[in-house]
């Protein structure tokens, strides 16, 4: 190792972090631990209650999906009825015009 490298080593010597670094890290660790404990509380509920929550969530999702599909089906039927009516009216008008045109 030559003088230049030794100088480089001196220039790159370790530097202290800003004040309160340790406290800031510990505060972040504590915050994360709090967050995890909230999740942990949920997981550590009695099994029946935990599964009941999951089942309720599933039922709600299934109900929402079914309701959405039913609405779409109803909308489709209504659109079809309107179309049939329109065709029927058009057909009647065409027949009427056809009758009125002198042959």
């Amino acid at each position: 190792m030559d003088d230049f490298e030794r100088q480089l080593m001196q220039a790159m010597s370790r530097t202290d972090p800003p004040g309160a670094f340790e406290a800031k890290v510990l505060a972040r660790v504590a915050r994360e631990a709090d967050g995890r404990s909230g999740l942990w509380r949920w997981f550590s509920r009695p099994v029946t209650l935990r599964w009941a929550s999951v089942a309720l969530a599933l039922v709600m999702v299934a109900t929402g999906v079914t309701w959405q599909r039913e609405r779409e089906r109803e909308r489709g039927e209504q659109a079809l009825a309107k179309l049939e009516l329109a065709l029927k009216i058009t057909s009647e008008k065409l027949q009427k015009i056809d009758r009125e045109i002198p042959k």
Binding site: F4, M12, F21
Partner: protein
């Protein structure tokens, strides 16, 4: 300025080994190492502090998986290096000035150690990411090329090549600007 406590901890891993291995003792023993890695690489105290905090938070998450203090130190160096490089790439944390654009010192003659050190840190910070990290690990942590290769997951020949090329560039630039460097 290097902290006496951190220097002591750095010199003697055994000083901390004597204490029971806790997260707090690891934090106290290695905070200067992690912060300095990030600071010498990023050259931004706020960014370096943020990276160092993230590294220690990650250490806390993995604390139970780590064994000896050497293992902890290796893990910290590796995670800190990767995070610094990621951050530099993500935020385009390119050196503030390109190596060739580093200004010549305004005062000719013998520069003080402070100015010389500042100049050398600026020159290192102008290197591309991988060579920069290799240089920081070599000259801050005094690691051997083989250790750096293991830490960064690159061939030893690549590490040696980065070191040689970076040193040659720095030497040339320093000689040009300072004149006195041997």
């Amino acid at each position: 300025m290097a902290g006496a406590s951190q220097e002591a901890a750095r010199e003697s891993g055994s000083a901390t080994d004597a204490e029971p291995r806790t997260f707090l003792t690891a934090l106290r023993a290695h905070q200067a190492m992690v912060f300095s890695l990030a600071y010498h690489f990023l050259r931004d105290r706020n960014a370096a502090e943020e990276v160092a905090q993230d590294v220690f938070l990650e250490l806390h998450r993995h604390w139970d998986e780590l064994g000896s203090d050497d293992h902890v130190k290796f893990w910290l160096r590796r995670v800190a290096s990767n995070r610094c490089i990621d951050r530099a790439r993500r935020r385009k944390y390119q050196p503030i000035v390109a190596l060739d654009d580093v200004p010549e010192p305004s005062t000719p003659g013998e520069p003080s150690d402070f100015l010389l050190n500042q100049k050398l840190r600026d020159l290192v910070s102008a290197l591309p990411e991988k060579p920069r990290m290799v240089m920081v690990l070599r000259y801050q942590e005094e690691m051997m090329p083989e250790q750096i290769a293991t830490l960064l997951g690159m061939p030893v020949s690549t590490v040696k090549s980065h070191l040689q090329r970076s040193l040659a560039m720095l030497r040339e630039k320093a000689v040009r600007s300072l004149g006195e460097v041997r």
